[in-house]
């Protein structure tokens, strides 16, 4: 090795070292899932966030934050097809309190966007809040992104979700006809454009492909009410179970794995979770996940 090569190599190593060490540490760090329980849905949302380090850990002053709830269906809040508006509002408030410059809340809906935004209760819950934007998807903002995944080579993703400083994944836990459950990993479909039905033919792999590309700084699963059957849109109050729980984790796979148990299922029953785990996107073994109840 001549001097020039030595300098080059050591220089690169010195530059990369902090990142590499951080990565290694992060990988070894046990996945933490916070579970808060109580009747005050805003309060338990805050508790769960604080238990994973508080919003200040993720949101720095001046950040643009995307909060991505599930509000894909024209169903009222108690039918558990969309994220609880009280939980959404609490998360948005925490972001603002941590100094966020702007909080954007959106979802690419399945039913008519206007009806979903209104009837989910989310648009109303955020009305009048300063520096909060709850606007419908504008198709021109989708960008074709090279994913180089196993199933999806490229796909249209929503620009605002990708360009934000912080991305908070805020699904509701519910039943799904194809994937059995829809949780944090599947919530990413709300920032996907194009013919979304196409990915159903290989759903778990497609979702892993997209999730590998989309950094979720924090995943908060709304389990204040869960939809136990006829998901993902339900419509019958008899299918809704009130659990009064909110789950938070920086590891989406771990959050999903824990949420699965609320339905009496094992993480290994859910192909979407298993595939993401195998791809190294997070931890699904419950005995390796540290669950903190608050």
């Amino acid at each position: 090795m001549d001097r020039r090569t030595f300098i080059k190599t050591s220089g690169t190593a010195a530059l990369l070292a902090p990142t590499l060490i951080m990565e290694a540490l992060a990988a070894r760090e046990q996945s933490l899932v916070a579970v808060a329980e109580g009747n005050d849905h805003a309060a338990i949302t805050r508790k769960a966030i604080n238990a994973v380090g508080g919003m200040k850990r993720f949101v720095k002053p001046g950040d643009v934050v995307v909060v991505k709830p599930n509000m894909g269906w024209d169903r009222s809040s108690e039918l558990a097809a969309n994220t609880n508006p009280l939980v959404v509002r609490a998360v948005v408030e925490e972001c603002l309190a941590a100094g966020a410059k702007k909080v954007k809340v959106f979802d690419y809906t399945c039913n008519d966007a206007r009806r979903c935004y209104v009837n989910s209760g989310i648009e109303g819950a955020l009305k009048g809040m300063k520096n909060v934007e709850c606007k419908q998807i504008e198709p021109e903002r989708f960008r074709k992104i090279s994913l180089n995944g196993q199933f999806l080579k490229e796909w249209e993703l929503y620009d605002e979700a990708l360009s934000a400083n912080v991305y908070i994944n805020l699904p509701i836990a519910k039943h799904h006809g194809l994937s059995k459950l829809t949780l944090g990993l599947k919530n990413v479909m709300g920032i996907m454009g194009g013919n979304r039905g196409y990915i159903h033919r290989n759903l778990d792999v497609a979702l892993a492909d997209v999730n590998a590309h989309v950094k979720k700084h924090l995943t908060i699963i709304d389990a204040t009410r869960i939809l136990t059957a006829h998901g993902p849109q339900g419509g019958n109050i008899a299918d809704v179970k009130v659990l009064n729980k909110v789950i938070a984790s920086t590891d989406t796979v771990a959050a999903d794995a824990y949420a699965t148990t609320l339905f009496g299922l094992k993480p290994s029953d859910i192909a979407v979770t298993v595939t993401a785990y195998k791809r190294g996107q997070g931890e699904m073994n419950l005995d390796k996940i540290k669950v903190v109840r608050v």
Binding site: P85, D112, K135, G177, L178, N195, H200, G235, A238
Partner: protein
């Protein structure tokens, strides 16, 4: 143009028409309180054709009865004071240079239009909406001009994004204001757009020959009102042109091209009174049918009109059965025949449809069904919780139903096409249709079956199936089917449209109330 009382009234009604037109759109509330259907509810042509065709009464028609009474008392004031198409003609006509009137249109042409229309109604074919001036105006606006406005605004907004990117956000509040209050929510391209606009423009082009050409020679509503006006107790004095002046001939937009002013052609615009150099003219009550000519048109026109209607009504019935299988009507329409008797083809339901499910029939419903609304699920679906089409229908052809009832109304039934549907044809998972099915108990369900994959290996696939009893035919399954062009599931028309049982349509949903 002088601002006479009639002019001011015309402009107010034109503005009202346009405001109501823009309001006939989902603007964030489930109810539309005031829609442009108000204009059809006072329309006597709609009244008579409905009564003749449906042979029954609807309270929605009461305002039109009042209009008939008012016309019997005052005369044909609707044309000179209210009709928005007439106002548009008045506004444009000064800019159009006139040649000579078309002789062929004179005489009884207008009766040859009105009478067959009414007579066809009697034989159960209600075509009055095709020539109703308000319907013509509305269709031109709805199917071409309004979508064009929306498209132009949206394209401009999108290209602004491609030019200046995120900086566009600074202008967003202004654009949102326009979008939320003025623009159509989504751009829908309608079939028959050019025909609709061409008819409207054709009527404007007729102004080239004489003022209010359409109104005095063709318009069936005007003809009907004119006939009613013969009985009016209100008339112009003097009834004839004065020998020493004749100025009225120039001023009158309608009937004064003869020596005597025919009551049935006077639209009470009062231009002659305003313009009379001698101040001789007044409009006042005067008894009798003096100088109005025979009460009814000649017998051959009456009989000919009746026969024309019959001829129109019967051969127009022809329908291609294959087309009929996809003849899906808006929710709540249970009988095709009853629907055709009431529909005025105004296009309001198609304008208001949330998910762009409704389109005017061009050939699908035969000649008799032209411009009637059709659900085309591959283009849009019937939103489960939406009741707007029934709310804006002027005649109740689409019934106004509470949302619980509307969800149960059957538009058609979905059928899988196993040659296309992925789990059957390609042995792979999909069931996007089940996911989107809005029926709480799911009219589309799936079961796991072990099949031989195309690679020859055994595998488990979720095969969808339909629970026909609880399918309401909303079409969301066909709409979202991820196959390209042709869907693997399609909605077909059914004769028996008995609503699905209530327990399948979901429990009472209470609106969310945590935030007032």
């Amino acid at each position: 143009m002088k601002l006479t009382p009639a002019r001011i009234c015309q402009l107010i009604f034109l503005a009202l028409f346009l405001i109501l037109f823009v309001q006939t759109e989902y603007r964030g509330r489930d109810e539309i309180n005031a829609a442009v259907n108000a204009f059809f509810r006072v329309d006597p042509l709609v009244l008579f054709s409905y009564l003749l065709a449906a042979k029954s009464w609807s309270w929605l028609l009461l305002p039109a009865v009042l209009m008939v009474v008012a016309t019997l008392l005052l005369g044909r004031f609707f044309c000179g004071w209210i009709c928005p198409l007439g106002t548009i003609l008045d506004l444009l006509t000064a800019r159009i240079r006139k040649t000579a009137p078309i002789r062929a249109l004179k005489g009884n042409t207008k009766y040859w239009l009105l009478l067959p229309l009414l007579s066809a109604s009697l034989f159960n074919l209600n075509l009055s909406g095709l020539l109703d001036p308000i319907a013509i105006l509305l269709r031109g606006l709805t199917f071409l001009l309004y979508p064009l406005l929306g498209l132009a605004a949206r394209e401009g907004w999108v290209s602004l994004y491609h030019t200046i990117g995120e900086r566009r956000d600074a202008l967003a509040p202004a654009y949102n204001l326009i979008r939320d209050n003025l623009l159509p929510f989504r751009d829908t391209i309608y079939p028959l757009a050019f025909l609709s606009a061409a008819i409207l423009l054709g009527i404007i082009a007729l102004e080239r020959f004489e003022t209010r050409n359409w109104c005095r020679n063709l318009c069936p509503l005007g003809t009907l009102l004119g006939w009613l006006a013969r009985f009016s107790i209100f008339s112009r004095v003097p009834a004839t042109l004065c020998g020493d002046c004749g100025q009225c001939r120039e001023l009158c937009p309608t009937g004064f091209d003869r020596d005597v002013l025919l009551k049935e052609e006077c639209i009470l615009c009062m231009e002659c009174r305003q313009g009379c150099p001698h101040g001789r003219i007044s409009f006042r009550p005067s008894a009798g049918l003096k100088g109005v000519g025979p009460l009814l048109p000649e017998r051959r026109i009456l009989l000919g009109g009746l026969a024309g209607g019959l001829l129109l009504a019967v051969p127009a019935r022809f329908r291609n059965p294959e087309k009929e299988s996809r003849l899906l009507r808006p929710p709540g329409v249970r009988s095709e025949d009853e629907f055709l008797k009431r529909c005025v083809r105004c296009g309001e339901c198609m304008k208001v449809c949330l998910k762009s499910a409704l389109y005017p029939a061009s050939y699908q419903a035969g000649l008799e069904g032209i411009y009637t609304p059709l659900v085309i699920p591959r283009l849009g679906y019937c939103e489960y919780n939406c009741t707007l089409c029934g709310q804006v229908c002027p005649t109740g052809a689409i019934p106004a139903l509470p949302v619980e009832a509307k969800r149960r109304e059957v538009i058609g039934k979905a059928v899988f096409d196993k040659n296309h549907c992925l789990p059957f044809a390609r042995k792979i998972d999909c069931i996007v249709c089940e996911e989107h099915c809005p029926i709480p108990e799911k009219a589309i369900r799936s079961r796991e079956v072990t099949v031989m994959g195309l690679d020859g290996l055994s595998k488990v696939v979720k095969e969808p199936y339909l629970v026909e009893e609880i399918c309401n035919g909303c079409g969301i399954c066909e709409n979202v089917c991820p196959l390209e062009t042709k869907a693997g599931i399609e909605v077909f028309a059914v004769k028996n449209r008995t609503p699905i049982p209530p327990q399948s349509a979901g429990q009472e949903e209470k609106p969310f109330s945590a935030y007032p």
